[in-house]
Symmetry: C2
Subunit: 250 residues, 2 copies
Amino acid sequence: MKLKVYADRLSQPSRAVLIFCKINGIDFEEFKVDLSKRQHLSPEFKEINPMAQVPAIVDGRFKLFESHAILIYLACAFPGVADHWYPADLFRRAKINSVLDWHHSNLRRGSATFVLNTVLAPALGLQKNPQAAAEAEKILYASFARIESFWLQGKGRFLLGGLQPSIADLSLVCEIMQLEVLDEKDRNRILGPHKKVMQWVEDTKNATKPHFDEMHAVLFRAKERFQKQRLMEANSDGETSQKSSLRSKM
Amino acid sequence: MKLKVYADRLSQPSRAVLIFCKINGIDFEEFKVDLSKRQHLSPEFKEINPMAQVPAIVDGRFKLFESHAILIYLACAFPGVADHWYPADLFRRAKINSVLDWHHSNLRRGSATFVLNTVLAPALGLQKNPQAAAEAEKILYASFARIESFWLQGKGRFLLGGLQPSIADLSLVCEIMQLEVLDEKDRNRILGPHKKVMQWVEDTKNATKPHFDEMHAVLFRAKERFQKQRLMEANSDGETSQKSSLRSKM
């Protein structure tokens, strides 16, 4: 029976799992759980993952959620997966686990909170929290600095000095790609100064071609929609301020 | 060469690692990194862990931080560790990884943010953020509900229906113990309704005797200090309000 992957390509951990399956030739079926239609909250999906989050997998009778746990499981359960994704070596594996744990409270936390409180909240009909966004920006900026000064130190082009990517590269880079939906000036301010991070994103993208671009296509379409929306809001604000400036002249 | 564990017993992940070493008879040396004296920020400690956080270990030439990664490493690297802590079975191991990942963005996030913005901030000379505390309380309460309705479902007394504890039980229970430093009425409001969680904490404590109590002794002393401090503040507030009420009568 084929592996089932429940995912929404607009979610960064979903993309990481999908790219991993594709590049390792894992035979799987993708089931879209449309977050914008709140399908993750449906009773059917909660049977798969009671926490109502994507991604989740079903492998025969075995159900699993949390993307890092899924990536580790897939790397260990499917014999065709190359060792560099999650090395059998105890020490290298421990270091990858360390990056993945660090990700949760640093890059992931900063990125998810910043995107929510800038771009996503209005789209979801929620109130933005500017203080939360400001704090998240600090966490995000500090995370990039740490990636540059620590995790990307070493011989190779990948995390922990790897010559080839691991599941940690995939998970963290998919997280960073989520920043594509931001206003360009926000994205440039936070990511721009971190050239080494940008190069590593590019390297990971190239190492996982053509699946990386395929799985991110939907994100780039979302980016365009958000850009158009911002433009329309700016124009309507312009008109409003023109009108109010006219009003003040009257 | 003995394993070196860098820890402060007032930190919940430090205690999880120390209890794990003790109960599994791992020969180790504990190096105290006193967080209240900001020793984690010293150049010496940053040589061990550039992220300046406890716990961290040094095993021969190998350095590692992030408590979940450390627990997994120790369970795999030391042959005397019983299988139930981190089973070799792929499926059970994957489920434990899933709990540990979930912990980061749920229980850990709620607990750390709530304790910081109620008890710790004043002690550290920082400003409390009541909005952050209120949001953290929601996350914490929801996390307990999830532990009861999902993670503690099953035959055994431990997470995932285990008959004996795993590293996930140890990590999550040490996190919950941190709530001991809270004002009793806060702790009872959040933890009180979750009887199953409280029983599981008790079961984990009993399964890791006497090391659990030994490693938590310092937390109970901190609890007493915080209680005294609150009492003094309440008294001085009482005096202030008496004085001001006297003043208003004058």
